[in-house]
Amino acid sequence: MGAKPLGRAANRGQIGKGNTEVATATPAEIKIGPTHEEHPGFWRSYVFSVDHKVIGKQYLGLSLFMALIGGAAAYLIRWQLAWPETYVPGWGYVEPQQYNAIITMHGTIMIFFVAMPFVLGAFGNYLIPLMVGADDMAFPRLNMMSFWTLAAGSTVLIASFFVPAGPASGGWTAYAPLSARPIYTGVTWGQNLWIVAVAIEFASFLMGGINFLTTALNLRAPGMTLWRLPMLVWMELIAAVLFLLSVGPLIAGSFMLLLDRVAGTGFFVPDKGGDPLLWQHLFWFFGHPEVYVVGLPGFGIMMEIIPVFSRKPLYGYKTIVWGSLAAGVLSFVVWAHHMFVSGMDPRLATPFSITTILISVPFAIMVFSMLATLWGGRIELTTPMLFAVGGLATFIIGGVTGIFLGSAGLDVYLHGTYFVVAHFHYTLMPMVFFGGFAGLYYWFPKMFGRMMNETLGKVHFFFTFICFNCVFIPLFMAGVAGNPRRIYELSSYDFLKPAQHLHVIATIATLGLLAGQVPFVINFFMSMWKGREAGRNPWLANTLEWCTDSPPPHGNFSEPVMVYRDPYEYGNPDAPKDWMAQNEPPAEPAPQPQAGGLRLKGTGTV
């Protein structure tokens, strides 16, 4: 990386690595504060950058690139389901084994390599330091490492497409023993690389999560109390904690699974004394909190955007925080609802069913609070707002259908059908893609200094919204008709023949959904170069990222930030204008003591 002078990054506390470089640090260099690197050079600025904003954009690029692969996989799956064994334009015929591999990779890529880098990696990295008023992440070089670790994981996963016998085909859940022995699928190195790639991804987000937590807890600007954190920061924090606490057993499990495959141990192989059900428990002990790991940040984005475009404070800030903390706690005691008919002890089902259905309570808090925020507002339907409320509208479907599946008695019938597929797409798509796109349209001006085109943005939204619903509403019906998921050719069952046309509708809508992303791509690149200049605060928003330049300089804030109030002070009748930035000091001369007291009371207690 050349003999560049060590930036302030190297001088900050960092665990494990980098001890020798610090050897050159003198105490005078250790002070915190923006010490701009003079000429960092191409590699240090854009590739191995330690600036959280560059890293955030790198995550964004990686996730959108992986989304292309995941989307292509969706295209192949849908085509095969609608018009089985026909020639898929751009690919060829899909074989049964290939089909299984494609669904496996679609799930793996979308969850681990799109959703997580998108809502956690990109938005978390870009926004947490800006929103809490820090000049960078707590451990910038660890941050760089976590991105490049993820990039390595993505490379390994993509490499698995090209090994002999093809990529993993045991489903994204990799249920043992199908995944534990090569003979069952015929896949050899593909599955091994899958395990390695996912394990690397876990390591990457562990590093990232620790960075998020430390940054948001320790590097907050003066006055930025926990109860003044923007909701997105809260959600990223909860997501990081959930990930950190849930992934350990699955890391252990993936070591064991890998050994089963390559060394021939029998942890999950019944005839060697192992137990396949244990893998499912380990997987879902992680898998369910993981849903909230990728889901909550999307909610956070919506909660940032809805107040701004309603010009109203977020309704019930503390209630939401407590609600999402409760959702986080509950997410650790619901995992077995994925396994009601797996052959686990049936007496476990009812307790897990109760906790699962109870989780609708905290989510109801969040949804109702967002609705209540809209009430009485002055709503402006910009593109980010459209994506936010559109995401909310679709999430409601995902939420209520969760009740069907959480009820053990009904899950006996619906488990493993397209009802499940439609349900989790209805929860994850609103939170990851609707939330993510909302965030992208909203923070694009901050990231690139230019506005995105509103017309193209609205075209993108309506295409996405309408097509998305047309894909998955029919799949609910197919699920009710008893259509099992992961079936290569539906016509092999007579009872599915009436449902075939539902799949045709879904596939045509999928084509529309994919085509609907073209305006976004055009808009993204056009606006980056030719968009209208954004200025510091185009949306008149309160949170700290809007009080610095767009894009923010290295070190984020040219002068130290102080925080005086809550993040969502819109439409306050006491204020001269309808917004009050978090860092805007209270009016200088407090004319009457009472008035000053009132102001302090209004801002100091939340």
């Binding site: 606490l245 350990g248 057993p249 137990d275 059900l277 244990l278 428990h281 002990f285 650790f332 077995a336 686990m344 002890d345 007496r347 476990l348």
Partner: protein, 96 residues
């Protein structure tokens, strides 16, 4: 920050803790050699392991002077995996 006298006491305290740890190792070994019922010997051995771990964490990892939040960070995962273990007993340990 610390006076010389205090730090000498700290050092002696670290060594005293180490003596206890060594003693507990031998105690655990002695228990396994005694003709105790299996369940009693298991309880004693793991009780000793818990005490040893608690001593290391409290004194060597400075938990005794840490803030509540650090205690929570250390304790929550322990409770979580023990909860996981207990929940899985009917399914994995007793299913036959």
């Amino acid at each position: 920050m610390e006076t010389l006298l205090e730090s000498a006491a700290t050092r002696a305290h670290y060594i005293a803790i180490w003596r206890w740890l060594v003693f507990f190792v031998f105690a655990a070994l002695a228990i396994t050699l005694l003709p105790l019922p299996k369940i009693v010997s298991l309880a004693l051995v793991f009780g000793i392991a818990l005490i040893k771990a608690a001593m290391v964490m409290r004194d060597y990892m400075h938990l005794k002077s840490e803030k509540l939040i650090i205690h929570a960070i250390a304790l929550i995962p322990i409770l979580l995996f023990i909860g996981l273990m207990l929940t899985l007993i009917p399914d994995i340990a007793l299913h036959r």
